[in-house]
């Protein structure tokens, strides 16, 4: 169980002002303000990073591995997420970025875009199976997988049971380096260069309960300046041999990239965790039974809008699309690596329902608690003002019933109580002065 409680998304208490911005937006109601500071309820957090984006004081952050950690390995592999290519602007081509990674100190670069193509291929074979539950829901975004685990247990069976491009890239690159150069496996360090906090969590505490093939996760934000510095001084790189992925893999960075890479079927792409919630609600009701594939990404504008990126997602999208257009010109045909053996990349175990919203293990008691929550909620004004530190009046009522808060955390309830005490004091005082008069 312990591993569930690692989270990349954390709070910098010194910067937190105790305002209510984050609690209002959190899709799993995982944040409370207690004693003037935000507190993240670890069991509920899905590492979507929305609070990082919302916080006006930058008090929410994502823990990633420091850049120096690559030095712990003799042979260093970089796995750049395709989102990296959108960060630098039109002068900085993929070729330049990839060679800058090598100049930075990586011995080998394996594009996650390459693995994304393999996952696309594997997805097509997977979808050809008539037995599978539709719509197939993408499992590439780890925040969404965790969201489904706690909110939509009925959709767990719809998840695409194929490893994410990051994991496929890690496994394949390690194997390639080991075979090509004879480097012992324990001397190889595999580093994902990430736009995403949830990927950090999925490496440190994988939901499928197995060890990740990634050794460390570096943020795009951290490596941005070093790479830019290298590229500004970069000499001629045209002589270097490049074997880069096709447009299909790179397009995974943009919303709709994963779903439109699949050859056929009715596909939808949804991004932004609250929109994802809405579409999953539709899926639960059976309204998406005529949809074959559902791409769901927690961040607005998908991975380009990740909490660890530098560039504005819309500008990054132009950059990526330009890069894609260039590749498309070079490669007229749809080139996908053949990986017929889907089994190799299939999940070996499944993700589990995590009923953390449950009120009590005993259903009788849970029902009683539900009624208590109703009664307490009735007693509140229903402003959902957040001043108590909970996102809504009902959430405060739930906290009270769970024993984590008290009624007078509500400032209106507190005012009522203070008024009634003041009234009582007044009565006692006037009774006292009356008896004084009688003397």
């Amino acid at each position: 169980m312990e591993q569930y409680y690692f989270h990349s998304v954390t709070l910098d208490t010194s910067k937190c002002k105790g305002c209510t911005n984050c609690i209002k937006y959190c899709p799993t109601e995982a944040i409370r303000v207690r004693n003037g500071k935000a507190v993240i309820i670890k069991e509920r957090c899905i590492d979507c990073g929305l609070c990082i984006r919302i916080c006006p004081y930058h008090a929410k952050k994502a823990v990633t591995d420091p850049l120096e950690s690559i030095k712990n390995y003799k042979f260093k592999i970089a796995l750049p997420a395709p989102t990296l290519y959108g960060q630098f602007g039109p002068d900085y081509t993929r070729e330049r970025i990839v060679s800058a990674l090598k100049q930075y100190g990586f011995d080998y670069v394996f594009e996650v875009a390459r693995a994304a193509e393999i996952v696309t291929n594997a997805t097509e074979y997977y979808m050809a199976n008539k037995e599978i539950k539709k719509p197939v829901i993408s499992s590439a975004c780890p925040a969404v997988v965790r969201f489904i685990q706690i909110r939509f247990p009925n959709l767990i069976d719809n998840l695409l049971r194929i490893e994410s491009p990051m994991e496929v890239a890690a496994a394949l690159s390690r194997q390639e380096v080991n075979e090509k150069y004879g480097i012992p496996l324990d001397e190889i360090g595999v580093f994902f260069i990430s736009p995403c906090a949830a990927k950090v969590t999925s490496v440190k505490a994988p939901y499928e309960n197995r060890k990740s093939n990634v050794d460390g996760v570096l943020s795009i934000k951290d490596i941005f300046l070093p790479l830019l510095g290298i590229m500004k001084k970069q000499g001629d790189i045209t002589s270097e041999p490049f074997s880069l992925s096709s447009a299909i893999g790179v397009s995974w960075a943009v919303t709709g990239g994963e779903s439109s890479a699949i050859k056929e079927g009715r596909r939808i792409a949804v991004h932004g965790i609250h929109s994802v919630n809405d579409i999953l609600e539709q899926a639960v009701k059976g309204n998406l039974d005529n949809i074959d594939f559902l791409e769901v990404l927690a961040c607005p504008e998908g991975c380009l809008g990740g909490p660890l990126v530098v560039e504005n997602p819309f500008i990054a999208k132009v950059n990526i699309n330009n890069e894609i257009a260039k590749i498309a010109k070079n490669q007229a045909h749809r080139v996908l690596p053949k990986h017929k053996d889907v089994k190799e990349f299939e999940w070996k175990s499944t993700v589990e329902y995590r009923p953390i919203m449950k009120l009590d293990d005993d259903m009788m008691k849970a029902l009683e608690k539900m009624n208590m929550i109703d009664v307490i909620t009735e007693g509140f004004l229903g402003l959902d003002c957040g001043a108590c530190g909970a996102p809504s009046c009902r959430a405060l009522a739930e906290d009270i019933v769970r024993g984590d808060a008290k009624e007078t955390d509500c400032i209106f309830k507190l005012r009522e109580k203070v008024n009634s005490i003041a009234h009582q004091l007044h009565q006692i005082e006037s009774a006292g002065s009356m008896s004084d008069d009688n003397k």
Binding site: V284, K285, G286, K358, L359, M363, N371, V375
Partner: protein
């Protein structure tokens, strides 16, 4: 505190934006009290279909829900036109939905049979020009 949870919902007429809110809300309650996911799913599908029926055919109506530790009982009633031939209405694919509704992807004639499939007990009381009341029971064990 009582251990029966009761909920009442108004189902608005012809408003597809709100249709389904009641069953979503019930789904959340059932998850919170610890009902198994597959039973939650069956219940919410059955309730959603009945809710949609009330919206499409019944001119709106109301839902009354009672949950105890063994079961959920959902009563959805409307004051609509009623069902003339209940046996026919229960058949898969039979529908009286107008084209405007079918264009929106509803009215495929699967509603009642879907409710039946997903509930443990289904009872329907209907009278032409008076309305329809659907009683759905799903057991938790």
């Amino acid at each position: 505190m009582s251990s029966v949870v009761v909920r009442d919902y108004i189902i608005p007429a012809n408003d597809f934006t709100i249709a389904g809110d009641a069953s979503s809300n019930v789904r959340k309650i059932l998850s919170q009290i610890g009902v198994a996911p597959d039973i939650v799913k069956r219940t919410s599908i059955a309730m959603y279909e009945a809710e949609i029926n009330a919206v499409i055919h019944g001119n709106g109506g109301q839902a009354h829900v009672e949950i105890d530790e063994n079961k959920i009982v959902i009563i959805i009633s409307d004051q609509g036109p009623g069902i003339a031939d209940l046996e026919l209405a229960m058949q898969e694919g039979y529908s009286t939905a107008p084209d405007s509704i079918r264009e929106m992807g509803f009215g495929a004639g699967m509603g009642l049979s879907n409710i039946k499939k997903n509930s443990d007990i289904l009872e329907i009381k209907t009278a032409v020009n008076e309305g329809t009341t659907v009683y759905i029971t799903v057991f938790f064990k």
